[in-house]
Symmetry: C2
Subunit: 363 residues, 2 copies
Amino acid sequence: MKQREFSCPVPDAGLYRPCTLIRPDARILAACSVVGGKEKQGPLGDCFDFFNPGDRFGQDTWEKAESEMQRMAMAGVLGKAGLGADDVGVLFAGDLLNQCTGSAYGLLGYDVPYLGLYGACSTAAEGLLLAACFVGAGYARAAAAVTSSHNAAAERQFRTPLEYGGQRPGSGQWTVTGAGAFLVTRDDENGGACRPLARITAVMPGMTVDRGVTDANNMGAAMAPAAESTLCRYFAASGTCPADYDLIVTGDLGWEGGRILCDLMDTHTLRDGRSLSVRDKYNDCGMMIFSRNTQDTHSGGSGCGCSAVVLASYLLPRVQTGQIRRMLFMSTGALLSPDSVRQGQSIPGVAHLLCIESPKEGE
Amino acid sequence: MKQREFSCPVPDAGLYRPCTLIRPDARILAACSVVGGKEKQGPLGDCFDFFNPGDRFGQDTWEKAESEMQRMAMAGVLGKAGLGADDVGVLFAGDLLNQCTGSAYGLLGYDVPYLGLYGACSTAAEGLLLAACFVGAGYARAAAAVTSSHNAAAERQFRTPLEYGGQRPGSGQWTVTGAGAFLVTRDDENGGACRPLARITAVMPGMTVDRGVTDANNMGAAMAPAAESTLCRYFAASGTCPADYDLIVTGDLGWEGGRILCDLMDTHTLRDGRSLSVRDKYNDCGMMIFSRNTQDTHSGGSGCGCSAVVLASYLLPRVQTGQIRRMLFMSTGALLSPDSVRQGQSIPGVAHLLCIESPKEGE
């Protein structure tokens, strides 16, 4: 009964409470991914659009390198879609750096209305959710979502500088060096210059959940209950169950958090008895981006960039071709800061969900 | 020709480029403000809902005090509106602390879908803008926007701990200790339990603007060009001019930035010759919240909480009564971090705009 370590044996009935489920009319027109050297060497290495072996991207600080990745990702996605910055009505962006400077500086060159986000590693889904809602409501014809993380910048900000050579426990995760950018539209905004990658058919913003985990080297355990909360609410609200999806993928719970989420979901059923176990359909971007055997990243990848680049480079092309027809994509974030950990506070998590489906035939 | 110090003498024609102007159907149902001792002693002291003379709010750290202010503000606004957390479909929140922990921890007790923002001191307008867009599109019946800042937490994070007793130049601003919460609805969600404060009739997200200011003690100068950009684009897109409004109020440019904005706007006219000078209609929340003569805050108030508490406590009640019938409210944010300043980068600003009008008769 592994799950007893992390959850009560009787599932919390509140987890099925109806919640905000939005069905926007939106498509992901194009996506672009930029990664560092370690990500390029991983199992998905061939899928990424741009990479830089030394993670510096021609800049003299790690923080500026992160900004440069965002700039490149945005340039790349505009190029793929055949659109200019003028065509984009609003831009949602955020990252892990203090005061989200990766986004603010990286996207400064684009004259697009800018709404900054902070969702920790859930930012990719948060930005896509808001972009889908904006174009779905007709507020903008095209909206962009951009996010990033940089291993070296994150290490010195959240833990210790690389030069210190600190060791981490097996439950620790490796912040991905990467940036992802997405263009979301309602209609065929670019005159068919490219076929849309996917449709966003439902979105659900998550609630913050804190089950008392205080170990900042075990973010997976802190975030898994948030993913459980959003999944249960989504299945209850939509009337669907895991069997209705080809894939259920989380942002970056890693090997540790992914195992916990599967254990937690095993305890849940819908009122009509359908099981909510996700074990057969489950994967995690943090587990996919690095090789567990050869890359020594302990519990897998993490960071805003992790789910963004895996979605942009590996998942969406497979949704476009129909290899994955319908999936749930859920980025998960741990809303801690180094100060909150030092002050003894436990770690709240949040998980935002998107239902992503293949484009209709003829699109 | 004071404005030549900060802007080119020929106005940038790009500033009138059409931009995302959204006209949501949304009302501010209720608002609540929580402040510290210095704010209570200021000119608006009698207007605030809650205050704590020692700024500690019963907590043992400044960061926890900031979270507690957000919790109180959210509780207060729900109480005023006669709604429960269950009635709120989505919550937009953010603050100045690293990783926005003021919001994440402060609002953890409310089971409401949580979308975290980072817009620096523009967060109040950013949250209200998104809330108005969400309820306007029918995605939620009620949406909340919450933000905060705490002087002592901000000082030790961005500058030096209070105990250090550092001096600041005259252009420096004083981070407000305060939190504001707003409930936005489309229709009469609470069965008339309270009369709405105002209607949000137009919103415009701003672009990031960087004119090369590198002095982190002169945020007003860094943010004024962003306010200029958003104002010019709004007037061009809406076809209105400053004469059409009773008040044009910025978030927290302070005395220094407010003067610069007025100088910049003096250089602009619409194509039909109407002047865009805002001098006669202008005020700034950072100028309003503290007494310039007696409170020694140099260039005035700043921080996410500044525009939030002035709007919640002073401005909206006057919009409700019709004393102010139609105003432009624009929170301004400086998107720097201590690291970006240390790495020699200049300071981008952003300003988001709301057009706020009195409720219709009978509402």
